[in-house]
Amino acid sequence: MDITFEHVTHVYNPRTPFERLALDDVNLFIPSGSYTSIIGHTGSGKSTLVQHINGLLKPSKGRVTAGKITIDANEKKPNLKALREKVGFVFQYPEHQLFEETIIKDVCFGPMNFGVPAAEATTRAEESLRLVGLPSSYWHRSPFDLSGGQMRRVAIAGVLAVHPEVIILDEPTAGLDPQGKREILHLFDKLHKNFNLTLIMVTHNMGDAALYSDQVIVMAGGRPVMADKPEKVFAREEELRKIGLDVPETMMFLDKLTAKFGAGQISPVFTIQETADTVIRLLNGGLENV
């Protein structure tokens, strides 16, 4: 499901003293089956941007197209339910949306809303809970008895059970411990690869953006200032620093090392393995071999 932004502008509280321009003439293309990361400073318009994709926000100007559905500023809202069935949204701290008596009922909530019959919804719920790795002994307990990390997995299962083609993740790992964080990111990476899910992740972590995605969009002042492969985006270190962003830790490390060796800038690497390889080559014979 391709997603296109055409001249999208969004103004919060228009014609009041609290008026604020959040998106400013945004043009973007997110291809079907891609893993896109959106990075940017707080208040750069990341969350506003992604909330346009499933119609939670309507553009003040311009149009957003997701698959066959178009939301145009000048037209009436189309059938949003059909759109939301295709585009799942995992909010920041999604555990705050749990409300049912049992975990399995909560996961069924989404599919049932979209008209899936109860039996089928339960099957989907079980399948999703297995995917996120929550043992079946928990399924009939109250979601409020779980730990924070488990609650988040239940909430994610609730989105997966709808069987969306696109999933938007708004800082999915905020507030998790390193282990939980890794598990969640692995889960989405797996879903992306196995089910050809289109993923759009808003994140503050440059390392995650670099490691997992095949497109990185950099937002600043309500506009996408860069949209490219991670290697290309993170090669523009100076520009990123100027808008208050950083490069992944692997690159920070190599930058310091090459500076010590008196070597120039090297091409971006993101995994530990690649970093180690670069260090070895650097130690073996200077920059020519890098």
């Binding site: 499933n54 949204f89 909010f91 749990l98 909530f109 989404g110 809303n113 989105v159």
Partner: protein
């Protein structure tokens, strides 16, 4: 709804804004009492002039005052009509079937409308120029004598300021949860009423869970910072009585005297 609870505080600088909330509260209270002293054209004229002066010195844009009035305009209108038809006396002005309008009735209904309007304008002016926190502080100080008879004045004031503080937070939270559930296919705005009512449960449960959790956190944070109730507590924002407040009080004394002298 939003305006009603938060008050419509307009954060600008003016003579009225700089007044101490205590003098403003006392002033408004006094004003509401002395309004009933007015009983003829000069005295009602005086009240109107006083109101207009208040609006002028508060520098609040007129449409904000109008917004405050709009919601109660209907009540004023009903009172006007009732008094118009049901007060007898004086020469008959108009008569149709069983409806009669007398001169006294007309004058009476104009007076009552003015009375209501000036009261509303003055109270609106209070909320327009005083932040909710200031009002709470002012009330707490003014009501302090009631502590002598074991009324928990401080606790009431604290409850009030906490609620005021968390209204925006709760509204934000509501919006977030609504969006999250809408993304899961919940529909708050269309469909049959029964479904819409049902859609409220997924909104209310997380909202309450969040509110209780936040209350617990807040209680913990307050204890951690040594909160132990009213006794021995000092203030960060002290209320300061200035010449402006004294001036306002003198003005009120003057107004009251003038009213007593000119009323018929």
């Amino acid at each position: 709804m939003f305006n009603l609870i938060i008050g419509q505080y307009v954060p600008i600088e003016s003579f009225v804004h700089k007044l101490d909330p205590r003098s403003k509260l006392a002033g408004v209270f006094l004003f509401v009492v002395v309004v009933f002293l007015a009983d003829n054209w000069p005295t009602y004229g005086l009240m109107i002039i006083f109101c207009l002066a208040g609006i002028y010195f508060s520098k609040v844009p007129l449409h904000f005052v109008y917004q405050g009035l709009r919601s109660v305009l209907f009540i004023v209108l009903v009172t006007f009509v009732l008094n118009l038809f049901f007060t007898a006396g004086g020469p008959l002005l108009f008569s149709m079937g069983w409806l009669h309008i007398y001169l006294n009735g007309l004058i009476q209904s104009i007076f009552i409308s003015i009375r209501l309007l000036v009261i509303i304008v003055v109270t609106t002016l209070l909320t327009l120029t005083t932040s909710p926190i200031e009002i709470t502080d002012g009330m707490e100080t003014l009501l302090a004598p009631l502590k002598k008879i074991k009324l928990p004045v401080h606790e009431f004031a604290l409850m009030m300021s906490i609620s005021l503080r968390f209204i925006p937070t709760l509204l934000e939270e509501t919006e977030k949860i609504m969006k999250a559930q809408a993304a899961r296919g919940s529909d708050f705005t269309s469909g049959p009423l029964k479904n819409r009512v049902k859609a409220i449960i997924p909104l209310l449960v997380p909202l309450f869970v969040g509110a209780f959790k936040r209350a617990e956190d807040l209680a913990m944070a307050m204890e951690a910072r040594g909160y132990h109730g009213d006794t021995g507590r000092t203030r960060l924002r002290r209320l300061v009585w200035t010449w402006r407040d004294t001036l306002l009080m003198i003005l009120f004394a003057f107004l009251t005297a003038l009213l007593i002298m000119t009323r018929s």
